[in-house]
């Protein structure tokens, strides 16, 4: 069976719409806060001890904008599959980063939405896994109310 075929067959387009708006909204919110506090977010990125010291600030600057743009594209329904794939990829990276630091026992905050947050835990991984599943669902299942598909959907 082709990748994701079972989702297409058994999934609901309206559930995909709800997931699309939810994940898009979360990423818009997460990106907007971090954009305004780049220095704080750079400290968060550094605290994970995974990015080389010369790249920390660049990652801290670009990542929130990527989150914001992907979130906006997802909510608007423009390049939906690409945006959902990118968000799923980012979530996968976040899950790996949190998991590595949980194994290390590093006492760091998540920094997912704000600079000062409660420390990472297995719940952070579970939450990110749920969001990752939603992004994959959106990626495989077409949803209504997509700006880019107006006029083409009837073909």
């Amino acid at each position: 069976m082709k990748h994701g075929e079972w989702i297409r067959r058994s999934g609901s387009r309206y559930l995909a719409l709800i997931f699309r708006l939810y994940i898009g909204g979360i990423f818009i919110y997460a990106g907007m806060y971090k954009i305004n506090y780049a220095a704080d977010f750079a400290e968060t990125v550094a605290s994970y001890q995974l990015v080389p010291f010369w790249a920390v600030n660049v990652v801290a600057l670009v990542l929130p904008w990527m989150e914001l743009f992907c979130g906006l594209l997802l909510v608007a329904g423009v390049r939906t599959r690409s945006a959902a794939t990118m968000i799923a990829g980012m979530l996968l990276l976040f899950i790996m980063a949190v998991a590595i630091n949980l194994v290390r026992g590093a006492p760091i905050g998540c920094g997912c939405f704000r600079a000062v947050e409660e420390p990472i835990s297995s719940l952070t991984v579970v939450r990110d896994l749920v969001w990752f599943s939603m992004a994959v669902y959106v990626c495989f299942l077409d949803s209504p109310l997509q700006l880019e598909r107006r006029g083409l959907i009837s073909l």
Binding site: I35, Y37, A38, A39, A42, E43, V45, A46, S47, Y48, Q49, L50, V51, P52, F53, W54, V56, N57, V58, A60, L61, V62, P64, W65, M66, L68, F69, C70, L73, R79, T80, R81, S82, A83, T85, M86, P107, I108, C139, D142, E148, R149, L152, I153, L155
Partner: protein, 225 residues
């Protein structure tokens, strides 16, 4: 012409001539009518050919439009690497422009990259200086990492609260004593940052112990956890 007709024409020559004339006229009229119909038929045929050509053109145009729209629909549904590159590029450009115009923006590369490297010591050299009471150790890592474990006797002075911590812990230190700074990881060189700030405070001798806590512990020297 049969014999009876010949006889009839022979007996009524005028009447026969008139009938013949009448037949010729009728024949001409029919011929003319046929020609008109032929012309009309040719015109209809020409119009039909023209219409067929127009229909073919319209059909081709419709096929092309439908094919273009189908391709567009497929393109929208496809995950494209061009989209990834575009999103990444746009994010990078907007991020750099925003950062450049933001008064609270950050430097793209760490400033320590462009500063001269402070003098370095290894674990045994640092231990020797400490044993001779000629140096103090400064742990430049954030407090939560310091609390997890540090070299015995080190004081915690990290960059984000440097001024306050310096005043609290190092301001009365003998100026002749060497300050050995340690604490770095893949993402932050806290030691170089603190060493630079100490040198700005006119400390005479500041050194960096790159190996830090892990190298010290590997050597079996005393640590506190």
């Amino acid at each position: 012409m049969d014999e009876a007709s010949k006889d009839q024409l022979g007996s009524h020559p005028e009447k026969g001539s008139m009938e013949l004339q009448h037949a010729r006229d009728e024949l001409k009229r029919l011929q003319s009518h046929l020609e008109r119909q032929n012309e009309e038929l040719e015109r209809v045929l020409a119009e039909l050919t023209e219409a067929r050509a127009a229909i073919t053109v319209l059909q081709e145009s419709q096929d092309r439009t439908k094919s273009a729209l189908t391709k567009q629909t497929e393109r929208i549904a496809r995950v494209s690497s061009l989209d990834f590159i575009s999103i990444l590029l746009v994010s990078a450009v907007v991020a750099l422009l925003f950062n450049a115009s933001n008064p609270d923006g950050v430097a793209l590369l760490p400033e320590s990259l462009f500063r001269p490297t402070p003098p370095l010591v290894n674990a045994s050299q640092a231990k020797e200086l400490l044993d001779r009471n000629e140096a103090v150790l400064v742990d430049a890592r954030p407090a939560e990492l310091f609390r997890e474990g540090h070299i015995k006797g080190a004081v915690n002075v990290f960059p984000s609260l440097f001024d306050v911590l310096y005043m609290m812990k190092l301001v009365d230190l003998d100026p002749k004593k060497t300050i050995i700074v340690y604490g770095r990881n893949i993402s932050r060189h806290y030691d170089e940052e603190v060493a630079y700030r100490l040198m700005q405070r006119d400390r005479e001798s500041v050194m960096v112990f790159k190996g830090g806590f892990s190298a010290w512990a590997r050597e079996g020297y005393p640590v506190e956890r």
